[in-house]
């Protein structure tokens, strides 16, 4: 059996096994084949040593240069995995549709969008409840808001404003393209 076929066998074992594969398990497979009835075509003429398996593994590994796969050695053996570089793409495929944001989150974002620059205290004043730190953190992580300064009042609170990313996400060129709440509606809402 030529090396290419041996390397392919190794590949098929690694790819079909969803756990890391230890060298001795690979050797077992080759041994069982070598010793027994499957070997009718005399594919394996000599026993495969651990050293030889290591050499085959290294040959196999070089096959994955410039692909999305990589051969890694972990504590319990060898495994083929998808490169980190591609995990975002895999996540786009595998992940459930993300959950929706809470009303608190949307209200905070709306206030920052419509009343920027605004401090956390001002948001709390309007909403009548304290703003969850996590909400602000998430908004900053998403790069939808950022701190553009500090208000010159005691405590020097951060002033939040929306970013270009925010505009891009909502397909707006400028902030004043945000939908206006028409005055009649507002009146109705306020007097309601």
């Amino acid at each position: 059996m030529d090396n290419r076929r041996l390397i392919n066998i190794l590949e098929s074992l690694l790819l079909s096994h969803n756990k890391p594969l230890p060298i001795n398990k690979i050797k077992e497979v080759f041994d069982s084949y070598y010793k027994d009835k499957f070997n009718q075509q005399n594919e394996l003429s000599t026993e495969i040593t651990n050293d030889f398996i290591l050499k085959l593994l290294s040959d196999l590994s070089s096959r994955y240069q410039n692909t999305s796969l990589e051969l890694v050695s972990v504590s319990s053996g060898y495994r083929l995995q998808i490169r980190q570089d591609y995990s975002l793409w895999v996540s786009l495929l595998l992940e459930e549709k993300p959950q929706k944001y809470s009303r608190a989150f949307l209200e905070t974002l709306a206030l920052i969008a419509y009343k920027q620059p605004i401090t956390r205290g001002e948001i709390e004043e309007i909403r009548g409840v304290s703003v969850n730190s996590h909400t602000i953190k998430t908004l900053i992580e998403r790069e939808w808001i950022r701190i553009i300064g500090h208000k010159d009042v005691p405590g020097k609170p951060a002033l939040y404003a929306t970013t270009k990313n925010f505009l891009d996400y909502f397909s707006l060129n400028k902030l004043d393209e945000l939908p206006m709440l028409n005055e009649v509606n507002i009146k109705e809402i306020i007097t309601a």
Binding site: S12, L14, L15, S16, H17, P20, L69, R79, L80, I82, R83, Q84, S87, L88, V90, S91, L94, E95, P98, Q99, K100, R103, L106, E107, L109, A110, L111, A113, Y114, K115, Q116, P117, E125, I126, R127, G128, E141, R142, I148, G149, H150, K151, D152, V153, L159, A161, T162, F170, L172, L175, D176, L178, P179, M180, L181, E183, N185, I186, I189, I190
Partner: protein, 269 residues
Amino acid sequence: MNQEQLIEPVQEELPLAVINGEKLIKLPDDLYIPPEALEVFLETFEGPLDLLLYLIKKQNIDIVDIPIAKISHQYVQYIEAMHQMKFELAAEYLVMAAMLAEIKSRMLLPKVQIAEEEVEDPRAELIRRLQEYEQIKQGAEELDKLPRMERDIFQVEPEICPITQIHYPDVQLSELVQALQGLIKRADNFTRHEVKKETLSIREKMSNILEHLKNNDATQYTEFTSLFNLEEGRRGIVITFMAILELSKQFLIEISQNQSFSSIYLKAL
């Protein structure tokens, strides 16, 4: 049959039971099958049609000219054997026996010539069913030969790196508006003039100016006129001016002028 007969052949014929198909049993003429083997034997048949096919093949009978008497005799003997073994006799086997008996009886009847109408051979229906069954039996074998997942085909399952990317929820612009409207409902201090178009432009400008001032070295002053973009036209200039005033009013910037009519400088606080 006596005890001896029952026990004797068992030892010899037992291996027959484990083999499917041809070598399974050399059917004696009387169809005698050792009881212990019978169960296994029966399990190899999928039903009366299967058994009938087996009997016909075994006897090398010309199907077009099935000697119904002989076959149904064997068949019934077979069923009797099952009965003696107290097998829960599948009703289907009995139905088939009845069918064979019916065909047999019809063939024994003298042929009555009904005016020009040809009487169908009572065996035709049986042959049709046997053929149809044989066809599907072959189909099942073909299906079994197809390369099959988990047996012949293995899909790859490499490990996937833990996913570090967070998948963010989507937000519609309308949701943002709804959120704000909800707020308006609740908050009395949210007055309507604050959400007018000009206000927003001014607010955006305020953010821009503040950011601009901050991006310059915070200790440095920025020249007042440099904040205006003439391309924005008259309205833009007014908005910029109002934004500066608003920033100043909110103590976000410091405006300074050394003497009248000299340059005005701004600095973020």
